[in-house]
């Protein structure tokens, strides 16, 4: 199952913090697609997800924002 989360209006630490909270709510094997801005969010969201042991499937640019797809592994 795929979930979406928009953190384009958030700032540190709420960018990666909201991703962590959302990942805790979904089941292992599911995908979380995070819409975020360049800069702090693009740097911290994938990094903190990896540190949690999750897998970054892809990062793609869409207009002025980015999508980061995360597969929940743990």
């Amino acid at each position: 199952m795929k979930y979406n989360l928009d953190v384009t209006k958030e700032h540190c630490p709420m960018t990666f913090l909201k991703v962590k909270v959302k990942l805790a709510q979904i089941a292992i094997g599911n995908i979380l697609d995070v819409l975020l801005c360049d800069g702090e969010a693009l740097e911290n969201v994938p990094r903190s997800a990896k540190e949690q042991g999750q897998r970054i499937i892809e990062t793609r640019k869409e207009g002025e924002h980015f999508h980061v797809s995360i597969e929940k592994l743990v």
Partner: protein, 161 residues
């Protein structure tokens, strides 16, 4: 990937609004990247944790009740500079909301959600005549220095004064 647990222990001595924001930003941010986080509140810092968020005559004894009333709770935290008789924290919160930056209540809520360990100083509680019942329910322990040292062992310690 090695799953090494990193640990951050924050000593929150200050009860200033801006310093509380800094403490909870660090705490919730570190917890969000899987660090184990302890926040040890002592002296003025205890005001952040009071169940009664406004000014109340709480505590045991005349002087402690007076002090607790004057210090107030999390709604009365002053800005460390340019407090303007208590107006500034409200103005600052308004600016934070306008710019989509997490406010202090949101940061505290996030820290609770991410299981940041909130702990209170036994000695400061004793001086101020406070008991565990005067603090928010997320404060599970009232501890002394040896227990804090044990909890913070092999981690980073930050003192917020």
């Amino acid at each position: 990937m090695a799953t090494e647990t990193k640990k951050l222990s924050i000593i929150c001595f200050s009860g200033d609004f801006d310093k509380a924001v800094a403490a909870f930003t660090l705490a919730s941010g570190a917890a969000a990247v899987n660090w184990e986080v302890n926040v040890f509140f002592t002296f003025w810092g205890l005001n952040i944790l009071k169940k009664q968020q406004g000014r109340r005559f709480i505590g045991k004894g005349v002087l402690p009740r007076f002090f607790n009333f004057l210090m107030g709770g999390s709604r009365n935290l002053p800005l460390s500079r340019l407090n303007f008789v208590g107006i500034s924290p409200g103005l600052m919160t308004g600016m934070m909301k306008k710019r989509n930056v997490a406010t202090l209540p949101e940061l505290i809520e996030s820290a609770k959600q991410l299981n940041v360990k909130l702990i209170a100083c036994e000695m400061a509680m004793h001086i101020l005549g406070l008991t565990k019942a005067d603090l928010i329910d997320e404060v599970k322990e009232i501890i002394g220095v040896p227990t804090f040292l044990e909890y913070s062992k092999n981690g980073q310690i930050i003192f917020i004064s």
